[in-house]
């Protein structure tokens, strides 16, 4: 029948467009993931990997305090960073969207995210310059006589959090701003017209409407933060290790590939849980 031939031919052509990308994703994302999952079930014997297919590594993870602690350190840092970043970024986005004159807004936004474009490694290093024992802050504080001895700012969790917050304030300002400006001004006028005061308008109208932007940004923050090795490694030092640092340690000094794979799977599970929690705000839509 005519309908079958025309429409199936179209379909076959469509597969031609989609298949290369799908194949790439399967070959270099799905299969590697499965390989890694399989290796997490293996055991390290010297420098070799023996496929034992058991859950020993996972059991070890929950038994060994220094491994489990990595996860908790990561979670604590990530939640702290996400919350502080949202709290700092929302007013910034709001001021840019509301207080800065229209024609300067784009400029203000570009300025607010400009350091985003420094190299990731260099950005953490720059914070080291600021926070180091002989760095800018200690120098300034000593100079004005507020402290007598330099503070231990670098190689602390605080340093890690500051480094992260710096990065994610920029990211969140961008997503929240985008959400604020696409909100029709009439909603606000209508609410004010119906007798809501400034705070009520914010709480009942603006906040719920910008929640999707906040959630998208917060989720991105969570994913990028919990999986990051650089920032805790450069700024946090080796006093307490975040999960990615623990993973890299398995890979490097201990050469325990199966354990590194196990920890990665656990990291992946945590991110997936976060995704499920935020899923309803993260729908991808075509405009």
């Amino acid at each position: 029948m005519a309908s079958v031939t025309l429409e199936t031919r179209e379909n076959r052509r469509a597969w031609g467009f989609v298949t290369p990308a799908l194949l790439w994703t399967v070959a270099f994302f799905v299969i590697p993931f499965l390989v890694m999952a399989a290796i997490s079930l293996a055991t390290r014997k010297g420098r070799d990997i023996v496929m034992t297919f058991n859950l020993d590594n996972y059991i070890t993870f929950f038994e060994k305090a220094h491994l489990l602690k990595g996860l908790f350190v990561s979670l604590e840092i990530t939640f702290t960073v996400t919350i502080i970043s949202v709290i700092l970024a929302y007013p910034l986005a709001w001021i840019i969207a509301e207080r800065v004159p229209q024609k300067w807004q784009r400029m203000a936004l570009i300025m607010a995210i400009l350091p985003f474009w420094t190299s990731y490694v260099v950005r953490s290093y720059s914070w080291l310059l600021v926070l180091a024992k002989n760095g800018v802050i200690n120098n300034a504080l000593l100079h004005i006589g507020l402290i007598a001895e330099p503070l231990e700012l670098a190689s602390t969790r605080t340093a890690t959090v500051i480094g992260f917050v710096h990065f994610f304030v920029m990211l969140l300002t961008l997503t929240i701003y985008a959400n604020l400006v696409q909100m029709p001004p009439n909603y606000r006028r209508a609410a004010a017209d119906l007798g809501a005061n400034g705070f009520q308008v914010f709480w009942h109208v603006i906040l719920p409407l910008t929640l999707p932007g906040i959630m998208v940004g917060a989720f991105l923050t969570f994913v990028l933060c919990i999986g990051d090795y650089i920032t805790p490694q450069i700024l946090g030092g080796n006093n307490e290790l975040a999960l990615p640092q623990v993973i890299m340690l398995q890979l490097g000094r201990r050469a325990d590939f199966p354990m590194a794979a196990t920890l990665s799977i656990i990291l992946m599970v945590v991110v997936t849980l976060a995704y499920i929690a935020c899923a309803r705000w993260l729908k991808m839509e075509r405009t």
Binding site: N11, F17, F29, V30, L114, Y125, N134
Partner: protein, 263 residues
């Protein structure tokens, strides 16, 4: 009630404070890249360009810079072509399980780079593939493909679908529709995807670190420089990277967004 005047002043103070926070490390980085001395920390001893001279004389750094550009441009091109084709197929045709396909294509976006890197490392080890810039490039396509696909797919509206129908109706074959209508029409978003992908790849560390061996990219080379501690040369190379990225951003702003805004 807070008086409007107070809230206005508070706004500007907050704005200034946050900008200060955002720019502090960059300002310190750039300032001490000119430090006439061995340490990039106060006091500031005066201006010299010697560290920039050292950066440009450093053959390892320069080859790492070249490698980074090569990997970034190459992997972004591949990601854009694959992403555009997939977006075209999924936005323009009815395919079985298209939701699942879209989900699969964007899935790497929700996974930490560290995990993607480890997965690829496991697989390459298992298959006996030796690590090189090629393996780094493959990894970067994996992280940039979802981005390119999502950006281009999001820009394919139904209005453009009708425009493509019109082209087909006027006798254009499928490849002509794609190359002469869809791609030029979607060029702003394709370019946006490309440049974004270049900046991501150019700056990416963990995949480049784990999947490379002898030839490395710039972030990895900078990482190894950090072992020597605080050093104005690192400031200088960091400032150069910043300038290059900002230049890329400016190009994106001028070429892509201006064009979009005009329409």
């Amino acid at each position: 009630m807070i008086s409007p005047r107070f809230s206005k002043i508070a706004s500007w103070v907050y704005l200034a404070a946050l900008y200060g926070f955002i720019f502090l490390p960059v300002a310190v980085l750039v300032l001490f890249s000119f430090q006439d001395g061995r340490l990039p920390v106060p006091p500031f001893n005066g201006v010299t360009l010697k560290w920039y001279g050292e950066v440009f004389a450093d053959s390892r750094l320069m080859s790492a810079l070249g490698n980074s550009l090569m990997v970034a441009i190459g992997s972004s091109l591949v990601a854009c072509v694959l992403g555009f084709c997939a977006a075209y197929g999924l936005a323009r045709y009815i395919l079985p399980a298209s939701r699942l396909q879209r989900g699969l294509l964007v899935a790497p976006m929700t996974v930490s780079y560290l995990i993607i890197a480890l997965g690829l490392l496991s697989t390459f080890n298992w298959l006996g593939v030796s690590l090189s810039l090629w393996t780094v490039g493959i990894g970067h396509v994996v992280i940039n493909l979802p981005l390119c696909f999502a950006i281009i797919y999001a820009s394919m509206g139904d209005h453009q679908k009708n425009i493509e129908r019109a082209a087909r109706d006027l006798g254009a074959a499928e490849w002509q529709v794609m190359t002469q209508i869809s791609a030029p029409m979607l060029m702003p978003s394709i370019l946006a995807a490309f440049f974004l992908s270049v900046t991501f790849s150019w700056d990416e560390f963990i995949i480049a670190f784990l999947l490379s061996r002898f030839d490395v990219t710039l972030p990895v080379e900078i990482w190894s420089m950090l072992r020597s501690g605080l050093n104005p040369k690192t400031n200088a190379v960091g400032s150069v990277v910043f300038l290059v990225s900002v230049a890329l951003l400016l190009i994106l702003e001028l070429i892509v967004f201006r064009r979009t805004a005009k329409k």
